[in-house]
């Protein structure tokens, strides 16, 4: 202190006494506030961050739980197709939204799966139910597509045991367990006939053979039958029929 005051211009003590005479001092409330702040600041820093950190962790956990619950509802649901045989389990993924659209309002998914597909108007052997070009359209993906040229190609490349027809998918399980002989004897339902026509029925005969058979019917006097066959021929081969079917041949 003495060394520091060597260069002091004048002694500070008399001035300190003069200024110290003033009764000016901080209010007690200020004293209490500063002392409290000093104590509050001594709380270990680790205890200051654990509360906000734990709150943040809880919030994050809640968000993850909610996301996992609702995220599961939006994921594709893996379902098993109805069983036609013990080894014929065909698991496929369908979008829940697509499944909802496919069934009627208020109908359960199980009931929708058991509902038979609507039968086509004509079980014509050449009618695949849709054009090949439709498979690229937006509504082509709703519901399982069966039949068509590409289906035939796939069926040809598969082993007989591997082939899964729409019949396997749509048939009721009890019906699937029915005896094969009974099934063969029973008349096939319309939907089954439609789908069977795609895969099992033979190809239509050539127009020449078909037309010769019609002419034979006419010659034998089976006129009504011949007219039905002729109508079918015209539908199957309209161009050929326009060129070759002559009214004189049908008299």
């Amino acid at each position: 202190m003495e060394r520091r005051d060597e260069e002091a211009p004048y002694p500070r003590e008399p001035w300190q006494r003069l200024l110290g005479e003033s009764a000016d001092r901080p209010p007690e409330t200020t004293d209490a506030r500063i002392r409290a702040a000093a104590r509050r600041d001594l709380v270990p820093r680790g205890r200051r961050w654990w509360l906000p950190a734990s709150l943040a962790a809880s919030f994050l956990l809640a968000v993850m739980i909610v996301r996992s619950e609702f995220g599961a509802l939006q994921r594709p649901v893996r379902v098993e197709s109805d069983v036609a045989g013990d080894s014929a389990i065909d698991a496929r993924l369908i979008e829940r939204g697509a499944g909802t659209e496919a069934r009627e309002a208020g109908q359960s998914p199980a009931a929708a799966a058991q509902r038979p597909a609507p039968a086509p108007k004509h079980a014509d052997p050449e009618d695949y139910g849709y054009l090949d070009a439709e498979s690229g359209t937006e509504d082509a993906g709703v519901g399982p597509r069966v039949g068509g040229p590409e289906h035939e190609l796939r069926a040809a490349s598969e082993l007989p045991g591997e082939a899964t027809t729409s019949e396997d998918v749509r048939i009721d399980p009890p019906t699937a367990r029915m005896d094969e002989s009974k099934r063969a004897a029973a008349p096939p339902p319309a939907s089954e006939a439609a789908t069977r026509g795609v895969t099992d029925l033979p190809l239509p005969p050539s127009p020449e053979t078909w037309y010769a058979r019609i002419r034979k019917m006419i010659a034998e006097g089976r006129r009504a039958e011949a007219e039905r066959e002729l109508e079918a021929l015209r539908k199957a081969y309209p161009d050929w029929a326009a060129r070759n079917v002559k009214a004189a041949d049908l008299r």
Partner: protein, 187 residues
């Protein structure tokens, strides 16, 4: 140098977590620091600047190094707080010429003799008026020297001027105060 300072040891103890060390430190400097700030800024701002100063002491306790005396560190912080206040208020506010609060407080002090209180009040009023007339630089240097106990070199360091300039400001301040106070001025 500062390590042997008792206040520096208290500050180190407080930084280590001893709250009672702060109480002792605060008791040692509360009146002097309050007067320093009270003379530097206006009455309305004194409390805010005083609390801001101690808040900085508390916040920077872990950065404190006893390389200098604690009082030097404390009053440098106080000087910076006053400078910040002056910058915000545009100028060193209107300090009260008459220290009426001090006079009233002295008169209300039951332990004080009435005549002594009156004399103290009168001297305090004259001192406040004399300090009011000092330029800011001289006032800061004078208060750092008297209230803070800083040396010329420490004042120069705290105010950012050369020691010669600091010593010159101290001389001018004392001369003006003696002239204003007359007989009441110390020798």
């Amino acid at each position: 140098m500062g390590a042997g300072d008792a206040d520096a040891q208290l500050m180190l103890r407080y930084a280590a977590g001893d709250a009672r060390a702060f109480d002792e430190l605060y008791a040692n400097h509360r009146n002097g620091l309050w007067r320093f700030i009270r003379r530097s800024v206006n009455a309305a701002a004194t409390d805010d600047v005083f609390q801001e100063c101690w808040s900085r002491v508390i916040a920077h306790r872990e950065n404190y190094r006893p390389e200098a005396r604690f009082a030097t560190w404390l009053y440098r912080i106080a000087h910076n707080c006053c400078m910040d206040h002056w910058r915000k208020s545009g100028r060193r506010g209107m300090r009260e010429t008459a220290d009426y609060e001090a006079v009233a407080a002295a008169a209300d002090d039951a332990g004080a003799e009435p005549l002594a209180a009156a004399l103290a009040g009168e001297r305090g009023e004259r001192l406040a008026a004399a300090l009011e007339r000092l330029p800011e630089e001289q006032l800061s240097a004078f208060l750092l020297y008297v209230e803070g106990g800083l040396s010329v070199v420490e004042i120069a360091d705290a105010t950012g001027v050369s020691p010669e300039t600091a010593k010159s400001r101290l001389r001018y301040a004392a001369a003006k105060l003696r002239k204003s106070l007359g007989d009441a001025a110390p020798d």
